[in-house]
């Protein structure tokens, strides 16, 4: 069965500092991987996704993620954090089927940005 682990429940970072969120997955085949962000009381917004090809993926809001098959990881990074990046971040792996896919989410990492 597929699974996703986000080891860090909370991360506090100063505005302007770099951010890295960890994600480890377990999946039998080539994974379809996603990062979503959720602001309080809101739905999930897609930041980026990896299906195949270049293992460094660029997303919205200045985020990027790197797929490392050997480490079963898909870590999210941002070089310089803005106060508006304070939110909860979810990593997910998809089991792709003909009749729709099933996302398995990690537990999430809550990011707090200090001024």
């Amino acid at each position: 069965a597929q699974s996703v682990t986000q080891p860090d429940i909370h991360i506090t970072v100063s505005e302007g500092a770099s951010l890295e969120l960890r994600c480890n997955y377990s999946y039998g085949a080539t994974p379809y991987l996603f990062w979503y962000v959720q602001s309080p009381g809101q739905g999930l917004q897609l930041l980026l996704k990896y299906f195949s090809g270049d293992t460094l993926v660029q997303g919205i809001k200045g985020f990027e993620a790197e797929f490392k098959r050997s480490q079963s990881s898909f870590n999210l990074r941002k070089p310089s954090v803005h106060w508006s990046d304070a939110a909860e971040y979810f990593c997910a792996v998809a089991s792709i089927k003909a009749a729709g896919n099933k996302l398995t989410f990690g537990g999430g990492t809550r990011v707090l940005v200090k001024p």
């Binding site: 009381g41 999930l44 792709i96 009749a99 729709g100 896919n101």
Partner: protein
């Protein structure tokens, strides 16, 4: 802009009183999903529709039902809400394999059960 819309954004109901949450999409996606998200937890898939085919998750309580009258709309019915059903309910849509498997989420409906 193509999008996923959920109404209402906030819903208050009484213990045991049936409630319906609504989701619509302008993405023309074949697949629509319903998730339940409790406080400080990850979203949990309840069920999904592939066109008119309903796919229930094994651990989804019978209290939760869904209807999809057409491509654009999907409803979540909670027949007898309990206090434990208070949560954020998220609707998502996706295409199918080879088209766009990415799930796009609506803003959610927060349900409060009194």
């Amino acid at each position: 802009d193509a999008m996923v819309i959920q109404n209402p954004r906030y819903q208050v109901t009484q213990f045991g009183k049936p409630v319906t949450l609504s989701c619509s999409q302008t993405l023309n996606h074949n697949v629509m999903y319903w998730y339940q998200q409790k406080s400080s937890q990850a979203p949990k898939l309840l069920f999904h529709y592939y066109d008119k085919d309903f796919n229930n998750e094994a651990d989804t309580p019978d209290n939760f039902q869904s209807r999809r009258p057409n491509t654009s709309f999907c409803f979540l019915d909670i027949r007898s809400p309990g206090l434990g059903d208070a949560a954020m309910y998220l609707c998502a849509t996706s295409g199918v394999t080879g088209v766009d498997e990415t799930q796009y989420f609506g803003p959610g409906t927060r349900l409060l059960v009194l």
